[in-house]
Every structure is written in structure tokens, then in C-alpha cells.
Symmetry: C2
């Protein structure tokens, strides 16, 4: 689809690029993100993004060298923000309850599903996403480990990495099925997990969400 476009060697690296703090640039990023979530990555084309932002298509190429750059920037923005939010929340209260609350926010899950699908055939993007995912996993792993210890569970009973993968998988499948319109069993599962966590952490107010 985007392959086979001949790249002229000259000037590719010397092209003028708009300022990184431009207001227009931000409008383009917002439009791209919205399009990505609403219609999938295939809808994120220079013309459609510009139309959504109420701007001319050439501006996309003025602010982003390639479409891959646009995707990467959209991804980075969200990843950085959610990593920061995660660390803020965990610093305030390092518990399974907090971890679950952050994970159970399905917006983040559908965002990452779309990006994984995209990464599946845009190699330049895959490595960047993988790198962020590893960082996220490491941070979450530390938090899970600490929370489990605080709740009096040893790593023999359930290794932190297992708990984390299980929780991540759960929220991912919930997001995936919700995108398909399936919801059977979701509430029961969520309730079950929340009760299990509440049993481990009785000191916390039950289901304050």
C-alpha cells in the first residue's frame, strides 16, 4: 500500500519541517488520533487527517516528514501521558486496586490494539511500540510485585509477572470483544476480579470507582 514509492535521495533530509510546538501541528495530531480511534488506522491518510482538522493536506507533510512519523508522534503522545499518569497513581497508592483501576480503563486498550495491528505491517513503527511496551511492562511489574508483597502474598503463590500478564490479557480481551459488540460475561468477570482484589485488600473502600 505504501511500499514501492521511490524515495529521492536528494533533499529528503533537508526538507523544511514546521515547529514542534505549533498549534497547527497539535490540531493535526488530534485529528489523526481521533480518526485512528473512530475508524482504524487505514482511515489515517494525509487528506483525511487534514480534512478532519479543517486544514490543507500539504500541512501534514509540512509538519511530519512521513505518515509513519505522524503515527509515531500520535503514539508517543499517548504513551508518554499514560505512563506519567500510571506513575503518578502508583506513587500515591501502590496497590492491586489502583493497578486494576488503571488497566480497566478500556480506552487505552483499544488504542493499543489498533497500534499493534498497525505495527504488524509497518516495521518502522513496530520497534518503537515494542520499546514503549517493554518500558510499561517493567514499570507495571515493579508495582505489581510491591503490591503483592504489601498484601502478604509471596512470589511462590503467584509470581508478579503472571498476575500482570493475566490482568493485561483480561482487559485486552474485554476491549477487543467490546469493539465487536460482544459483552456476554464481561460484567461477571469484572465483578469477580474486583471481589478477589477486595478480599486481598480489605482496608480499601470497596468499589469506589
Amino acid at each position: 500500500m505504501w511500499q514501492g514509492v521511490p524515495v529521492p535521495i536528494t533533499s529528503t533530509s533537508s526538507r523544511r519541517i514546521g515547529a514542534a510546538d505549533s498549534k497547527t501541528r497539535e490540531r493535526l495530531l488530534n485529528a489523526a488520533e481521533q480518526l485512528l480511534l473512530e475508524e482504524g488506522y487505514a482511515a489515517v491518510t494525509s487528506r483525511r487527517v487534514a480534512a478532519k482538522a479543517g486544514l490543507k493536506p500539504q500541512l501534514v507533510h509540512y509538519y511530519f516528514r512521513t505518515m509513519d512519523d505522524l503515527f509515531l508522534e500520535v503514539y508517543r503522545r499517548r504513551a508518554d501521558e499514560s505512563l506519567a499518569r500510571f506513575e503518578r497513581a502508583i506513587a500515591a497508592d501502590c496497590s492491586l486496586h489502583t493497578l486494576w483501576r488503571l488497566n480497566a480503563d478500556l480506552r487505552g486498550a483499544s488504542f493499543s490494539i489498533e497500534f499493534v495491528a498497525l505495527a504488524n505491517h509497518r516495521k518502522a513503527i513496530r520497534s518503537e511500540i515494542a520499546a514503549y511496551a517493554e518500558r510499561f511492562r517493567a514499570a507495571q511489574l515493579a508495582a505489581v510485585g510491591a503490591a503483592l508483597v504489601a498484601d502478604g502474598l509471596s512470589a511462590d503463590q503467584i509470581p508478579p509477572v503472571v498476575a500482570l500478564v493475566l490482568m493485561t490479557g483480561l482487559t485486552q480481551v474485554l476491549a477487543l470483544e467490546k469493539a465487536l459488540g460482544m459483552t456476554a460475561g464481561h460484567e461477571a468477570t469484572i465483578e469477580y476480579v474486583e471481589r478477589a482484589i477486595a478480599r486481598l485488600e480489605p482496608q480499601r473502600a470497596p468499589s469506589q470507582r
Copy 2:
């Protein structure tokens, strides 16, 4: 990307379509499926499918009215086959062990991830996929329920639907991360789950896979 193509009212339904049992048609389906798994759904275009099958692009439209029809047929083929295999395996041995073995085959998971991403912005495809997914879920749910009862677990301890969603989520996240090149914690998690199942079903030979 595919939107906005005007559909002429005349002759759309009267176009000649090749026989459903044609050998050529099957080659096209195989090529499409291979392309889908290797490079993602965006690579599945009439020209690329035909090239992969060593045929002319017009043949795709001779055997399939639209590209959506092609996708649907690819999906149906796989879904029918894996549903049949599931029912065969469960009839022979209705146990958590068998269920896990079938789910842990990641090929199926990456296939369905690609299709969910596709369904996300091809409405005609979404409903079909959702319908199959519901059928699959119902069949699996019955099997999980029976297996749990056979292992002496009541629905109070863990409702079948919860066990099923957890298991599905787990294999899905494993497939997703594997696609990204992430494998940290996967083996530990798989081992943990298999040990837990083995503890519930000691009569079965341990890890015969």
C-alpha cells in the same frame, strides 16, 4: 480507503460468479489467508492476492463479488474448521487440559486479532465475525462448565464464564505481544497455568504436548 466508490445499481447482482468448488477459487483463498497472516489485512488487495496465487487480478473479482466477500470467505473457512476441531476434541475429552491446549495454539489468536482490527472499520464484516465469535463462546462455555464440574469445582468458586474470559484473554495477549517481539514473562505464565490445571486434573498425563 474503500469508501465512496459509487455502486452502480444495474447488473451488480447479475454478474457472473465462478463456481464455489473451483480449484482456482481455493488457490485465491489460500493466497489471501497467507497474505493476511504475513502482512496484515492492508496487504490483501486483489492484485497482491492474485500475484501470490500466480493468477490474474481479474480472477479475484470473478470469484468474489467484492473484497469484503473474499475476507468473509477466508474467515468462514478458518472459523468453521476450528469450530469443528474444537468440537471433535471436546467430544473426545472434555477437560480444562484440552481446552487450554486448543486455546494455547497462538496461530488462531493472531488470525482473530487481524480480523478484529479489520472488523473495526468494515462494518459488513463486523457482524459476521461477531456472530461466529458468539457461537464459539457458547460452545466453549458449555465445555468449560462441564470440565469444571468434572473437576469438582462449583460455579460459586469460579463461574465458567470467568474462567473462559480469563483464558481467552491470556492467549490473546500472548499472541499480541509475540507479534510485537515481546516474550518476557510468557513462559512463566504458561507454566503457571499448566501447573494449576495439572493440579486440578491429576489423572491426566502431565504436559504431554
